[in-house]
Symmetry: C2
Subunit: 183 residues, 2 copies
DNA sequence: TTACGAAGTCAACAACCGTTGACAAAAATC
DNA sequence: GATTTTTGTCAACGGTTGTTGACTTCGTAA
């Protein structure tokens, strides 16, 4: 069942790419099975349900690497993680685009909100420490998500056409200001 | 047809509230007509189609008021507009939550992207002038959308439980940094 | 070779989707 | 008051949704 090209992996890859970019409710199981080249009924066999397949893609997500970085590298690691695709070779989706795509979803919104609060905002605030850690963590995330939103989702020309290096410099400029809040 | 409580207005109010928070594809015409307390077939009669009803809600949107503010008031006006609900008395939705809710929509994403580029980013860059106007405009929008996202959509505790005044101070702190970029 | 369990195929289900047309009720015009 | 126009009601349509169960195919162990 864990052959490199097994049906399970085909489904998981196709589901991640589609769910994480279009959002849970905007993707049908037939979209996924067509992209994976397998029969519709196999979703039910391998993952129980559409929701089970979605949750299987969430289970792949590792803890946010920026939380393990040294204080000096925190900003660089945080910025980099927002642009790195989940799968090194291939698709565009990463865990942060997934969060953006699913937060307004009527079925998965609560799940996604919980992930941002407990897996990103809370541990980041603990790592930051100092004064107003929760507010500064939220501001940092707002910048990261906001810039990702402008570049990847709204595709504003000034951001989507620039090389990644320049964007990261802009994010860094804003992030420094966020971390200085309340001093 | 333009009585204060006419069917057309009931449909438009319900459609705005639902479309602008859940996103176009996540709302059915039966959801809207049930909320409005009218028959399903009347969407077709008054607006031609579901898409026509959605576009009618978009037609209500006035130009971004921050673009008319004096340079000194620009930041304050921009910040305030992101928290002000569309309808003074009542629902939560405003044009910016609408943009967030519909940008990943498979049918309305292109429309929404065009609005952000042409109605927000481009005129804001023209108003800012100076060096790197497009980049600074995009960064300012990233902050505004990012903070709205954290507060309203992800509902991060540190932002969603605070009074609006404190949030606006945080946004202002970040926005000043955005406008100083590239000096 | 046989037997067995896993893997894949296919058709169908009930529910929901946007939309339509025939019809009844109400309002406005003459 | 009669006629016309507007407005609202109801049932149905073709299509898509997630899910299921019966079936065939395949690989492997006895």
């Amino acid at each position: 069942m864990s052959q490199p090209n097994s049906t399970r992996k085909k489904l998981l890859d196709a589901a991640r790419k589609l769910f994480w970019t279009r959002g849970y409710s905007n993707v049908s199981v037939r979209d996924i099975t067509k992209a994976a080249g397998v029969d519709v009924a196999l979703v039910s066999r391998y993952f129980g349900s559409k929701q089970g397949l979605f949750e299987a893609t969430l289970a792949e997500i590792a803890p946010w690497e920026a939380l393990d970085a040294s204080p000096d590298d925190l900003l660089a690691a945080a910025v980099a993680s927002f642009s790195k695709p989940f799968d090194p070779e291939g698709d565009q989706a990463n865990p942060f685009t997934m969060l953006l795509a699913n937060v307004i979803d009527p079925e998965m919104g609560d799940t996604v909100r919980g992930m941002v609060q407990h897996n990103l905002a809370d541990p980041l605030a603990r790592k930051l420490g100092g004064s107003n850690p929760d507010e500064r963590a939220a501001m940092l995330l707002a910048i990261l998500f906001g810039m990702a939103l402008m570049r990847k989702n709204f595709r504003i020309d000034a951001l989507s056409t620039k090389p990644l290096k320049e964007i990261e410099a802009q994010i860094h400029h804003l992030a420094v200001a966020a971390l200085q809040f309340g001093d």
